[in-house]
């Protein structure tokens, strides 16, 4: 076995273990962290396929941004396992169907000559001056520019929609307006009342 092979099997084993733990871990925070580990390891495997740019972007986007927010939500949740288990049997048919489709697709791709992926060779070693990033940029901005732009616009619409959802006006929120706070004068807050001094009562 070559050194690359050893590294590949090491990372694959970690990836499989992490993937398994994502669905078997009881604690949702543990599951989210195993998902982070799975992303990280798959980035390492992509790097072995000489897709450095994609590997780094996977870490940057999924590990650095998406999973942080995910972890946020999961930590805030108060998950009741007993109540989740109640609906197990009603969800089983849908889940089983999705699982069967996934397995069938993987078998089609991986199972030898029928999928056509049997003899895919390892990528040839690239020359030292080859820039993965530059090559990807060239393709994305020339050949696939329309698809890329459409994806960008869809993402923008999603961002605008997500922000618009948070923009509902809530009457009960209390907030401070610093401009009003600093421009306040004594007359706005305090009223001097003239009063006759009270006399002590005689017993």
């Amino acid at each position: 076995m070559t050194f690359n092979g050893i590294i590949f099997y090491l990372f694959s084993a970690i990836l499989l273990f992490a993937g398994l733990r994502v669905i078997t871990a009881r604690n949702p925070v543990h599951a989210a962290l195993f998902l982070v580990l799975a992303f990280f390891t798959s980035a390492a495997i992509w790097m072995q396929l000489q897709a450095e740019f994609l590997a780094i972007v996977l870490v940057l986007v999924y590990v650095g941004a998406v999973m942080v927010l995910f972890l946020f939500v999961v930590m805030m949740l108060d998950i009741n396992l007993a109540r989740l288990r109640e609906n197990f049997w009603s969800y089983l048919p849908v889940g089983a169907f999705v699982a069967i489709v996934l397995v069938a697709e993987m078998v089609l791709v991986l199972a030898g000559k029928y999928g056509g992926f049997a003899g895919v060779p390892a990528p040839p070693p690239l020359p030292p001056g080859y820039s993965n990033t530059k090559e990807l940029g060239r393709l994305v901005y020339t050949e696939y520019v329309y698809a890329f732009e459409i994806a960008a616009v869809i993402l923008l619409v999603a961002i605008v929609a997500a922000i618009a959802i948070t923009l509902r006006r809530r009457k009960e929120t209390k907030y401070q307006d610093p401009a009003r706070q600093v421009s306040v004068r004594r007359e706005d807050r305090m009223r001097l009342v003239k009063m006759r001094p009270e006399k002590k009562e005689q017993r």
Binding site: T2, F3, I6, N27, V29, H30, L33, V36, E52, F53, I56, V57, V59, L60, V63, G64, A65, V68, L69, L71, F72, M75, S131, N132, T133, K134
Partner: protein
């Protein structure tokens, strides 16, 4: 000199040969070159991390000394080596480290033990891993990868996990509040930081950090560096760097006046020390990146013409020393901020990040793109 170095080098070569023989004996002829390569990289990593840890230790002393002088105090001046009075204070980091090492690490009863121990590790990992792509001098860099800037952004964005997990695993309200604050703050400022870096890569036409430094080379010394055309981005990066490392005046994550000590309130002993080390290692990292991207890295600030005119041509030579000088100035400015500014209010921090920095950086990207198309762009042709 040569008579002293030669035997040492011979001994080193002999040692390396011995190691190679042992590796061949264990792993076989086929795997040996790869294993030797891995060992070499590991040794180089030690060569970077060990001085870094020393620098972190002495940065804590420098912080206490500098802030002491700024507040007309003396700072630590008692602990010395071998009882020498004139070394007063220099052994303080050693004493602090020793104290933290022998203290007990208390794990709270309701804490999630695994994650509680894992959190400091996850906090310090990115602070060390990012050093792999930093170019120290024209030829000295551990991994000269093409997407270096992207790698730095990806690795530093992982740092937030240590803090979130620490806050959650402690099972304490204060720790959790601190973690929430800090995570929201780091995610917000990462955006502004990322956009500032986009400006740098536009100006440098490359993601490789060594290439970014080389693009700042020129006949005008410090006028060739990117801090002039990208001046607003330089400031944004510096301020976002302070916010990213949770340093004063953006240290609401610790906020000892409101939430005792924030995310690391339950940590003690060495577990706390690792968070402390991570914060300072991050400070040094941000300062180094700032020096590399905006202040010309290893380049000399003095143009060759002036250096030779005053008869000191070595001043114009590019070396690791210049990077150290720049790094030292930027790190000291971090300490200066801490001594100068009161803590920001939380909503003000968020306002600064989202409503000031983000529009400014996006505007500057557009402006820079237009500027680079005109003849007014004089930083390189």
């Amino acid at each position: 000199m040569n008579t002293l170095v030669q035997p040492l080098m011979n001994f080193g070569n002999w040692l390396w040969g011995l190691l190679a023989a042992v590796v061949v004996w264990i792993f076989g002829q086929e795997l040996a070159p790869s294993v030797m390569h891995a060992i070499k990289i590991l040794l180089l990593i030690v060569c970077i991390v060990a001085p870094l840890m020393g620098a972190v230790a002495y940065l804590t002393l420098w912080e206490r000394k500098l802030i002491g002088w700024m507040q007309i105090r003396i700072g630590p001046n008692r602990v010395t080596f071998f009882g020498l009075r004139w070394l007063g204070g220099l052994a303080q980091p050693v004493a602090d480290g020793l104290k933290l090492m022998v203290k007990e690490v208390v794990i709270p009863a309701g804490a999630n033990k695994t994650l509680f121990v894992l959190a400091p590790v996850m906090a310090i990992m990115p602070a060390l891993a990012a050093w792999a792509v930093i170019p120290f001098s024209p030829s000295l860099v551990l991994a000269d990868i093409d997407a270096g800037l992207l790698y730095v952004m990806a690795i530093t964005s992982v740092g937030v996990y240590g803090i979130i997990i620490a806050g959650w695993a402690s099972n304490s309200k204060y720790a959790f509040l601190g973690a929430m604050r800090s995570a929201a703050q780091m995610v917000s400022y990462e955006l502004a930081m990322g956009f500032a870096l986009v400006c740098v890569l536009m100006a440098a036409q490359s993601l490789n950090l060594g290439e970014i430094v080389r693009m700042q080379q020129g006949n005008w010394g410090f006028l060739n560096w990117f801090w002039i055309p990208l001046f607003p981005m330089f400031l944004v990066y510096l301020i976002a760097g302070v916010a990213e490392t949770n340093r004063a005046p953006f240290d609401v994550a610790e906020g000892e006046s409101e939430i005792v000590a924030g995310f690391h309130v339950e940590y003690s002993g060495m577990a706390f020390a690792v968070f402390f080390l991570a914060e300072y290692a991050n400070m040094i990292l941000v300062s180094t990146l700032c020096s590399v991207m905006f202040l010309g890295g290893w380049l000399s600030p003095i143009p060759l013409a002036i250096a030779s005119a005053i008869g000191l041509p070595w001043l114009a030579a590019d070396s690791f020393g210049w990077l150290l000088v720049k790094l030292f100035v930027v790190v000291s400015s971090f300490l200066w901020f801490r001594a100068t500014f009161p803590r920001y209010r939380y909503d003000q921090i968020m306002r600064l990040g989202w409503k000031v920095f983000l529009p400014l950086t996006i505007f500057w990207i557009v402006l820079l793109g237009a500027w680079m198309q005109t003849p007014l762009w004089v930083w390189w042709q």
